[in-house]
């Protein structure tokens, strides 16, 4: 019996149907229909608390494009100290709430940014830095940078400037917090609803669309 690994897995790893049924009875939620909240006023309060929590814990993906990423260390460290607003870094896209597009975006980087954005979990927000993301900026006639970011990804906040100083960056974050509190931020749903439009724009500039199958939804 000890030398049979399959049996070992069966007894510990995979529960039998009887065990599952027993567990469903044991661990079923105690508050069923009586405790469930459905009326609009309660929903409103719950949404308020959720938005309040979200706006004060913005996890920023540690990813920078272009030249504006150099403003992020200044924003995060002791002088401007963005962490007093609840803004801090996150290591991977799946842990992050905010994607910063810091400066010009070449088509080569756009391909990576799209993958990063689609890996992030809802609610997710995009902040775009500098005039390059707004209208191309000084790269308005460049052959390899996109000119208007919101054609390719839903953008919540644009920060003007070339580059925006940390004060502007923090002001942009405060604007994003306002939008989150009012329930106006978060382009994930917009992206999903208008996916065809976004995909058409993206595939117009990314000539060789060789994404893995998970991205072709």
């Amino acid at each position: 019996m000890t030398n049979n690994p399959d049996k070992h897995i069966k007894t510990i790893g995979i529960p039998t149907e009887e065990e599952i049924r027993q567990a469903q009875i044991d661990f079923a939620p105690r508050c069923t229909s009586a405790g469930r909240v459905n009326d609009k006023e309660t929903q409103k309060i719950v949404q308020y608390i959720l938005n309040f929590a979200r706006k004060h814990s913005l996890f920023v993906l540690a990813y920078g494009t272009g030249c504006g990423a150099i403003e992020i260390p200044a924003t995060m460290t002791s002088r401007y100290d963005a962490e007093r607003f609840g803004i801090r870094g996150a290591a991977t896209p799946r842990q992050a709430d905010v994607l910063l597009i810091t400066g010009y975006l070449s088509t080569k980087t756009l391909k990576r940014v799209i993958r990063v954005y689609e890996q992030m979990q809802d609610p997710k927000y995009v902040m775009a830095f500098g005039s390059c993301t707004i209208n191309g900026g000084m790269y308005f006639d460049s052959y390899n940078t996109i000119k208007a970011l919101d054609r390719y990804l839903p953008v919540d906040v644009y920060i003007a400037g070339c580059m925006p100083r940390p004060e502007s960056v923090i002001r942009g974050f405060i604007k994003l917090q306002e939008l989150i509190q009012n329930g106006n931020a978060g382009g994930g749903k917009c992206y999903r609803d208008n996916l065809d439009w976004y995909r058409a724009n993206q595939q117009k500039v990314i000539k060789n669309w060789n994404f893995p199958d998970e991205y072709n939804w």
Partner: protein, 185 residues
């Protein structure tokens, strides 16, 4: 010291150089002997450091100009070796056997100007990705037209027009004279 360098190059390769500044010597050579000159400069004269290889597109003369910039760290001297190659069929000798770092410059020139270096090791795709047009640093590549055709621009901001003037027109705000001087339209 600069005369010595010029005399030595003249004696070996029969080429005439000129002194551009106290720290800089310019030499124009035929493309066949450029690699010999560079190897001689490195091995015999102590110019052991390759600063840069740059390429200039002389579309009017139908030529590419390549400039090899080498440096002598003890004498603090720079030698610029200029050479011209045909623009229609641009082929140049590969010198990454002399300096390894030349490989990077040559790959970039192959991608950006379409110059072929026979025997050059490395992926053809260097900085650009999925590029299907002509090499973009050639002067007959119309960058602006390509950008306008490929990318979506924000309406009203297709060119480098001054933003202040637009704001002034819309809001009726008066712009001071010194600001008008620097605005372009």
């Amino acid at each position: 010291m600069q005369e010595n360098i010029l005399n030595q190059l003249n004696k070996v390769f029969k080429i005439k150089g000129q002194v551009k500044s106290p720290l800089r010597i310019k030499v124009v050579a035929d493309k066949d002997i450029v690699s010999s000159i560079l190897l001689y400069l490195k091995a015999q004269m102590g110019f052991i450091h390759l600063n840069h290889i740059s390429c200039v597109d002389w579309i009017e003369d139908n030529k590419f100009e390549l400039v090899y910039i080498v440096w002598h760290p003890e004498q603090k001297q720079t030698v610029l070796v200029h050479t011209f190659i045909d623009r229609e069929n641009p082929v140049m000798e590969n010198i990454d056997t002399i300096w390894d770092q030349a490989n990077t410059y040559e790959r970039e020139m192959r991608e950006m100007f379409g110059i072929e270096f026979p025997g050059l090791v490395g992926d053809r795709e260097f900085i650009l990705e999925d590029w299907q047009e002509m090499p973009p640093m050639r002067r007959d590549f119309d960058t602006k037209r390509y950008a306008q055709e490929t990318y979506e621009t924000r309406p009203g901001r297709e060119n480098a027009r001054n933003v202040r003037l637009e704001i002034m027109k819309r809001s009726g705000e008066e712009l001071p004279d010194f600001a008008k001087k620097y605005s372009r339209d």
